[in-house]
């Protein structure tokens, strides 16, 4: 059976003639889920989201309902909702569509979430580069306020919530929730150490804060529209709803494909929906869920046991597209931003490209990450420019091993994982790249660094 899409988040925005204004959204059933939500008690809304099994869409896949439960409600301090629309993981471009084409869907989710956690103030932290996107959102907020869906006395409930759009400054690390909070406070985006700075307890202005991804907010709208138990039937147990696969790189039809969790495989995504590799090429590897997830090589076998006890033995093409199956293969679903690499690509250049990214984006707080990311970038680049030594290959791994797990935030892992996963799988190719350059032989034309 060929893979089929099941648009949920993208259902409206793909309709011909669909526009960003509130009238169009209302004609398409907009804000009905919010009406349902405010008729429920906040804790009942939390329960619906918990029952739905919704997992966050920002990359870590943490259960949304459980995250909300951690909110410290006893401190007496105001609670804040912060929406992470700082989409900056390389390969990820799913939230951009929601913001630019269906902003009210996200705002409805925000209003529902704010009601559930009783936040009187919400912030949307949007990428600084989304200049027009921020304007679209601001206009949408004004429209929603005028109709009583946001702002004062929402739908006559007596409950009020203001939403402010806050533009970032082009900094990857501000997508990390505590770095984002620091940035929103008007500081450098240095991530905070946990404990004690768990956002649900000590978040924005040291008040209890829920930080949720932009797409998660859109998903919450659908949780309320369906009801938690019905929503849980979409996808598979343990991973409900749809995943938006943002495929980029070297396939015939790169693009965004929304698929019910677990209802297709990587093979179906890459070959059926994306049309397979470019003519005359072969797919060599994929980075499944944004650049910091571990790389998968075509031809590898993935064997093991799922949490429910099922044993599996898969080729890359057989891996089902759900969080648990992908995690069982030693990588992660992440943001669903799949980068496809084919046989025209020299792997050391691809790695060097990402190493340069992480070296540029390290905030510099923690020595292992600050120094390690630069070393990795320099060592991999010197291989590509002909100055590489055979010992550079184990050196890359050695450096990466000294970064992961030794930093305040997950940027350390993001620096290390591409190297730690790629070096064992492509060691021979890296050595061949070094040898070719020493021998003065031709190297692949496609330049990546």
């Amino acid at each position: 059976m060929p893979a089929v899409e099941r648009p949920l988040i993208y259902a409206n925005l793909r309709k011909p003639g669909y526009t960003v204004d509130i009238d169009c959204y209302l004609r398409n059933g907009g804000y009905e889920a919010l009406k349902k939500a405010v008729a429920l008690k906040p804790e009942e809304v939390c329960k619906e989201v918990e029952v739905s099994g919704l997992r966050g869409r920002g990359g870590a896949g943490f259960p949304t309902g459980m995250k909300w439960k951690f909110l410290d409600r006893k401190s007496g301090k105001p609670a804040y909702l912060v929406v992470n629309a700082d989409e900056s993981e390389p390969g990820t471009y799913k939230d951009r569509q929601i913001i630019y084409k269906d902003p009210h869907q996200m705002l409805e989710g925000i209003a529902i979430t704010a009601w559930a956690i009783q936040a009187k103030q919400a912030f949307i932290y949007i990428r600084g580069e989304f200049i027009h996107g921020a304007k679209i959102l601001e206009r949408a907020i004004a429209e929603a306020k005028a109709k009583g869906f946001l702002g004062q006395n929402i739908l006559g409930s007596g409950y009020s919530c203001e939403v402010v759009v806050h533009r970032g400054g082009g900094c990857y690390v501000c997508g990390e929730e505590t770095g984002l909070i620091e940035s929103l406070e008007g500081k450098r985006g240095y991530p905070r150490i946990k404990p004690p700075y768990f956002p649900a307890v000590l978040g924005l202005y040291n008040c209890p804060t829920i930080v949720n991804n932009a797409e998660t907010m859109a998903q919450v709208k659908h949780v309320l529209a369906f009801g938690g138990a019905e929503f849980a039937k979409i996808g598979i147990p343990g991973d409900s709803g749809t995943h938006i696969w943002g495929v980029s790189g070297l396939v015939k039809r790169p693009g965004l494909y929304e698929i019910e969790a677990g209802k297709a495989t990587f093979g179906e995504l890459l070959y059926d929906l994306c049309g397979g590799p470019l003519d005359g090429r072969k797919i060599k590897a994929i980075i499944p869920g944004g650049s910091s997830t571990k790389i998968l090589k075509v031809g590898e076998r993935f064997k093991g046991k799922l949490a429910n006890g099922t044993e599996f033995d898969w080729a890359l093409e057989d891996i089902p597209l759900d969080a648990n199956s992908i995690a069982a293969c030693g990588t992660g679903l992440g943001t669903g931003g799949t980068i496809v690499i084919d046989d025209s690509v020299e792997m050391i250049q691809a790695l060097s490209n990402l190493n340069a990214f992480y070296a540029h984006e390290t905030c510099g707080q923690c020595t292992p990450c600050r120094e390690g990311s630069l070393w990795l970038s320099r060592v991999s680049k010197r291989i590509t420019t002909g100055g590489g030594l055979e010992t550079d290959v184990p050196l890359l791994l050695d450096i990466a091993n000294q970064v992961a797990g030794r930093t305040i935030c997950a940027h350390g892992e993001a620096v290390a994982w591409p190297v730690q996963s790629a070096v064992p799988k492509f060691k021979d190719e890296y050595l061949e790249s070094i040898r070719k350059r020493q021998a003065g032989e031709a190297v692949p034309k496609l330049k990546l660094i």
Partner: protein, 187 residues
């Protein structure tokens, strides 16, 4: 990239820029949160941020100028020196690179007579490589001022450069309301 401030005297901020500050500050429970939006405001007015601007922002949000400088130097989008009339940012990160952004950059360097990281001698273009700008399925992408150009093929660099040059003579540049699906809308 943090350039040193220009020695040429900067023009004053427009009165309408200054007038927007109180409303922006009032949006936040704590004033300091308005640091970034005020810096964006200043930069959109003049194109870069001066020391005087940082003093002004500091006053608005109740911090020291040093605390504003800390922010300016942390975020890649803020600039302390003027740039060219058009700011051309080519995405360098893997998805776009796989689709040819390095070749595109090399071609644009020739077509715009400008090396990466620099401003052309006539002051028309500043050309830069930037990291992922979240439009990975349409690579290579080029962000020009507030417009996002998708699928800019290396072979089309000359044509693309000509388009950008034509905007220099367009008095309505950047003033038309964006239409869905256009680079201005996606920017």
């Amino acid at each position: 990239m943090h350039e040193s401030p220009s020695s040429a005297p900067a023009r004053a901020l427009k009165p309408e820029t200054l007038a927007q500050a109180p409303a922006i500050v009032a949006q936040y429970p704590q004033k300091r949160s308005a640091t970034m939006p005020l810096l964006h405001l200043v930069q959109e007015d003049r194109g870069y941020i001066t020391q005087e601007d940082m003093h002004w922002v500091a006053e608005q949000v109740g911090v020291t100028p040093m605390q504003v400088l800390e922010v300016v130097t942390f975020y890649p989008m803020y600039r302390q020196a003027p740039i060219g009339r058009r700011h051309v940012r080519v995405c360098r990160t893997l998805s776009c690179a796989l689709r040819g952004s390095y070749a595109l950059m090399e071609n644009l360097e020739k077509s715009l007579n400008c090396k990466r990281g620099e401003t052309s001698p006539d002051g028309d273009f500043t050309l830069e490589f930037v990291e992922c700008i979240a439009d990975c399925g349409c690579g290579p992408v080029v962000h020009v001022d507030a417009a996002m150009h998708e699928n800019v093929q290396p072979a089309d660099a000359e044509k693309f450069a000509a388009q950008l040059k034509a905007t220099l003579k367009d008095p309505a540049y950047g003033q038309n309301p964006p239409v869905p699906g256009t680079p201005e809308w996606n920017g």
